[in-house]
Amino acid sequence: MPPRKEPKENVVYAASKRKAPPFKPHRPSQVPRIPTTESEASTASRPAVRPALAKRKLSVRDDSEDESAQADAIDDDDSDEELADNPLTARPRPAAPAKKPPAKRNPPRQPSPVAISDGDDDDAFSPLPDRDAAASNPPPEASQPDSSVSIPQPLLTRLLHEHFADKSTQIDKQALQVFQKYIETFVQEAIARAALQKRAAAEAGMISEMDAGWLELDDLEKVAGGLVLDF
């Protein structure tokens, strides 16, 4: 019969209930927050800015994400000492191919795996338009290999390091571009040889002319041996 403490509890519940609604609009997806930087403006609603969470949805993209992040970090670390220490990068190179890697200067130099430009390749290969924002952050490099399609450099770096026997082995950035060309040549040669084989078979009457433009696994198998021997 004496009034208990229920009214108080009710008040507390109501207060907490009342608190919830004003909290919701603070979620980033519902409130248009004013972006502070240019890149943030275009990536504000994109979940991929958190690589840890969006990891491995598209490994090519994630690779480049990691690479670029790494590249930024390490460039910041040793860019000044590299410029000061390394005569090869400080002074303009002669016209001869850069065949003199800094053998004596191994310690201060961080070669390719981190110094790769990801913008060029991603622009060319990624079907996702939101890469533009990230690609515009690092300064665009003039090292566009060529206009034709090839394996993206971050992926190639990862593949190479996967197969190195010694984990401390690293690859020069320019060497990686040449290696990219090597693989590109390999693939084009495989396709060309398979197509040639197919056409020869069609002319010999073993298959119909209709199939001549359709490359099958059999065609690849027939030329694979010679191809691998030649490379």
């Binding site: 491995r56 490994s59 690779d63 990068t89 002074r91 303009p92 190179r93 002669p94 016209a95 001869a96 191919p97 850069a98 065949k99 890697p101 800094p102 053998a103 290969f125 003039a142 090292s143 290999p145 399609v149 090839s150 394996i151 992926l155 593949l159 996967e162 197969h163 190195f164 026997a165 010694d166 401390s168 082995t169 690293q170 690859i171 020069d172 320019q174 060497a175 571009q177 040449v178 060309k181 090597y182 693989i183 040549t185 390999f186 693939v187 495989a190 396709i191 060309a192 197509a195 433009g213 359709w214 490359l215 099958e216 696994l217 690849l220 198998e221 694979a224 691998v228 030649d230 490379f231």
Partner: protein, 108 residues
């Protein structure tokens, strides 16, 4: 329960999937140029072939660099990959020249 072995397998699978995708794009662009088409099996087989080739080549260039007492693979090591084929050697040397010319002016 994915153990260490399981992790390795998934990593390799993901790398192969990425490679497959890239190879698919290369085959598609080549197909557009030559007005031919390729079956998915062709692309898969080619991806496997390229995977093996990258493995061989990676070990080769690593050995070349080691032989020169280097820990970092340089352009000349990769150019050596084309030592058995005259045409390939030319292609790689030209590419090496192009790359070094591209990088020389801006110097970074």
């Amino acid at each position: 329960m994915p153990g260490l072995q399981g992790d390795d397998n998934t990593k390799e699978e993901k790398l192969k999937a990425s490679l497959w995708y890239s190879i698919g794009q290369m085959v598609d662009s080549a197909g557009l140029a030559t007005d031919s088409n390729a079956s998915p099996h062709f692309i898969g087989g080619l991806s496997e072939l390229v995977w093996q080739q990258i493995q061989t080549a990676a070990q080769d260039v690593e050995a070349f660099a080691k032989h020169a007492d280097r820990r970092i693979i340089a352009t000349e090591d990769v150019v050596l990959l084309g030592r058995r084929s005259e045409g390939l050697k030319t292609v790689l040397q030209n590419q090496a020249k192009t790359v070094s010319k591209q990088n020389a002016p801006n110097g970074r």
